[in-house]
């Protein structure tokens, strides 16, 4: 394979160290996820919901945004995303182990992200509610004349909830700076996308008068490019963009799911081959940005970080029982 004179990432304005960083986060997320699955299997934790197969798109999207400035409303698979915008593996492990030091105080299931200092908006389990919150945050940016976007993700199953339609329409009417990213991983638990989604999600944008872009979610630089463009549009005042990233959920829905009830090993194996992280690794090697030694170093670093974090989180104390009573309302009464 011959290389172009200027590498694709440079054409997109990405420096070598940035793509290396992207790659490192993908590796870190993957390894975190594998570890979390192992920890769950060992019985140490109750539940894990995995992002394997979706990291490439998540990291690429995140790098097209402005951490600690834009607002982020990730959904429960967005481990790689939240690692890209500031969360640490230790923070993720504390959530997994449900410890007091977890920002959510061990209250929420793992995968329910939220961290004000990282501009990650608190998430619940009912799918798609956050899409409207993103619109409200985008509205605020316009009202306050702030140069930022709200970025929200959701699955293709969740995309069918009424709230998504209301959000698209609201954002379209007011041309708000919001980016809707649907991570279409082909399944909503057991339901394949063709039984879940009529038409194509990407085509829904046209009905609200804003652009819809479908992108190969395993192609990091393409995802980066379309999110970047969407952000530019948003900041220009040209309104929202819907991006549909085509992906595949490699693991079962969660540690409680048996995916062999509704799909075949062969299908899963086929998609494993398409792994976006491996694509990206090959691209980086071909560009000369990544060599085997660096790659090994990145992996080892990730493993070390994960080891330390899981040890730390395992040993950290649980929340005090009576802390359950706190924060139903503002502690000072919230009033005047």
């Amino acid at each position: 394979m011959s290389l172009p004179n200027v590498t694709k990432h440079r054409q997109l304005g990405l420096m070598d160290d940035q793509v290396l960083k992207m790659y490192s986060v993908m590796v870190l997320a993957r390894k975190f996820d594998e570890r979390a699955t192992l920890i769950q299997r060992s019985g140490k934790t109750a539940f894990h919901i995995s992002s394997i197969g979706q990291e490439t798109a998540q990291v690429a999207a995140a790098f097209a945004l402005e951490p600690h400035h834009d607002y982020f409303l990730p959904y429960y698979r967005d481990y790689a995303f939240v690692l890209s915008v500031g969360m640490t593996v230790r923070e993720l492990m504390l959530a997994l182990f449900l410890k007091a030091e977890d920002v959510n105080g061990g209250r929420q299931m793992p995968g329910h992200f939220g961290y004000r200092k990282h501009h990650i908006v608190t998430a619940s389990s009912p799918v798609a509610t956050q899409v409207l919150h993103a619109v409200g945050i985008a509205l605020t940016a316009v009202m306050k004349k702030e140069d930022r976007v709200a970025f929200v993700t959701f699955g293709e199953g969740a995309s069918n909830q009424g709230d998504v339609h209301e959000a698209f329409n609201f954002a379209g009417v007011f041309k708000l700076p919001v980016i809707f990213l649907c991570e279409n991983n082909q399944y909503a638990i057991s339901i394949p996308a063709h039984r879940q989604v009529a038409g194509r999600i990407v085509d829904r944008a046209a009905g609200y008068g804003f652009p819809g872009v479908r992108v190969d979610g395993n192609d990091a630089l393409e995802v980066y490019r379309v999110v970047r463009e969407a952000r530019d549009r948003a900041l220009r005042g040209a309104g929202p963009t819907l991006i549909e990233a085509m992906l595949y959920r490699i693991p079962p829905h969660s540690t409680s799911d048996d995916d062999m009830l509704y799909r075949t090993k062969e299908e899963v194996e086929y998609y494993k081959e398409q792994d976006g992280i491996q694509h990206f690794r090959r691209y980086l090697s071909e560009c000369g940005v990544l060599n085997d030694e660096q790659d090994r170093y990145i992996s080892e670093n990730a493993v070390r970080e994960i080891n330390e974090a899981s040890r730390y989180a395992d040993q950290a104390p649980y929340p005090a029982p009576e802390d359950a009573m706190r924060h139903v309302y503002a502690e000072d009464g919230g009033g005047v």
């Binding site: 920002v103 509610t129 899409v131 409207l132 619109v135 009202m143 706190r326 139903v328 309302y329 009033g335």
Partner: protein, 337 residues
């Protein structure tokens, strides 16, 4: 109907309940740039005139006409509130709040708790409720009991112009989500003295509206006025009624409820919402748990029957809605029991 007797030297203007709501919103918008209102048709003033003139004064950004989508109205308000805005969302009629239930119960109510205090959701949702006559099944409902008892939510329901204004201000300034139930019948029917200077009415505090020794009536919203009227008329028959106006429905002012009940030992709870599962049930349960030995009669509830809502035909309406006469009968029975 006027709540407070005008004293000779009083200089306070008398305004309607509706004006009180509007002036509270306006004053809060002047006080704090982060306050804004959103809802259906509010630009033209809203279908009830609650926001009349506000778009001209504050611009269409801060008096935001939204699409016809209640879940979006609340969901967008929640998003804005999480990044420090103070939205006041209008639901056009209480009957149409249900599409927003998920955003209210799963989101607004749980944002602080689930994030362990990392995020908060200071929104106000205005909910015009209750029957005015001629509204029928879907323009008269009292859905407060659907949301009552949801930890994380606050619910207020003023009965006077004074409280309407003070509770609106308190709600806007409150750091937690508040459902603001405004009774549509009160809008123009109720007027009373409201100070010109800034004040708030604290959330969570009930008010004694009338002192009495024979029976206690506990009510909120328009029911308070019926109760006062009935009390006045019964006074002529020698029945002395103590009237407590809850003002805040959630969390309930338990000390005030216990005190008002203890005053007479004979309690009638009165609301326009259906009897079964209404807020009266909780009040009764609180009393049965904490004041049993001071009760001199069964705790009575005076509420419309358990049918979906008021029918449109005048005969059906009359049958359903509480009247002062029927209320008096219930009060008299209790007094004589």
């Amino acid at each position: 109907m006027s709540m407070r007797k005008t004293e000779v030297e009083s200089e306070m203007p008398i305004i309607t309940y509706l004006e009180a709501i509007r002036s509270a919103m306006c004053e809060e918008m002047v006080r704090d740039d982060n306050v804004f209102v959103l809802g259906e048709d509010i630009g033209k003033g809203g279908v009830m005139n609650a926001t009349k003139g506000m778009r001209d004064r504050f611009g269409e950004r801060r008096v935001l006409d939204t699409p016809l989508t209640e879940s979006a109205i609340v969901g967008v308000a929640i998003g804005a509130a999480m990044v420090d805005m103070r939205p006041i969302a209008e639901i056009q009629f209480a009957d149409f709040i249900f599409p927003a239930t998920n955003q209210i119960i799963s989101e607004a109510a749980k944002i602080r708790y689930r994030s362990n205090n990392d995020w908060q959701c200071p929104i106000v949702i205005r909910v015009p409720y209750g029957a005015t006559g001629g509204g029928g099944l879907y323009h008269s409902q009292c859905p407060e009991s659907v949301f009552f008892g949801t930890p994380g939510l606050k619910i207020v329901a003023p009965s006077t112009a004074y409280d309407a204004k003070g509770l609106m201000k308190a709600s806007v300034r409150d750091d937690d989500p508040v459902l603001y139930f405004e009774h549509k019948k009160c809008y123009l029917y109720i007027s009373d003295e409201v100070p010109e200077e800034d004040y708030t009415v604290p959330i969570g505090i009930a008010a004694v509206r009338r002192e009495g020794g024979d029976i206690t009536v506990i009510a909120y919203g328009m029911a308070v006025h019926h109760a006062l009227k009935a009390s006045e008329e019964l006074a002529k028959e020698g029945i002395s009624t103590h009237v407590l106006d809850l003002r805040t429905l959630h969390p309930l002012d338990q000390p005030a409820i216990l005190e008002a009940a203890a005053k007479t030992g004979k309690i009638l709870i009165f609301h326009e919402d259906n009897k079964t599962g209404g807020i009266g049930a909780e009040i009764s349960a609180i009393l049965a748990e904490r004041l049993l030995y001071e009760l001199d009669a069964p705790i009575m509830r005076f509420c419309p029957p358990d049918i979906p809502a008021v029918g449109m035909a005048p005969t059906l309406e009359k049958f359903y809605l509480p009247t002062v006469d029927r209320l008096k009968k219930a009060m008299r029975q209790l007094a004589e029991s």
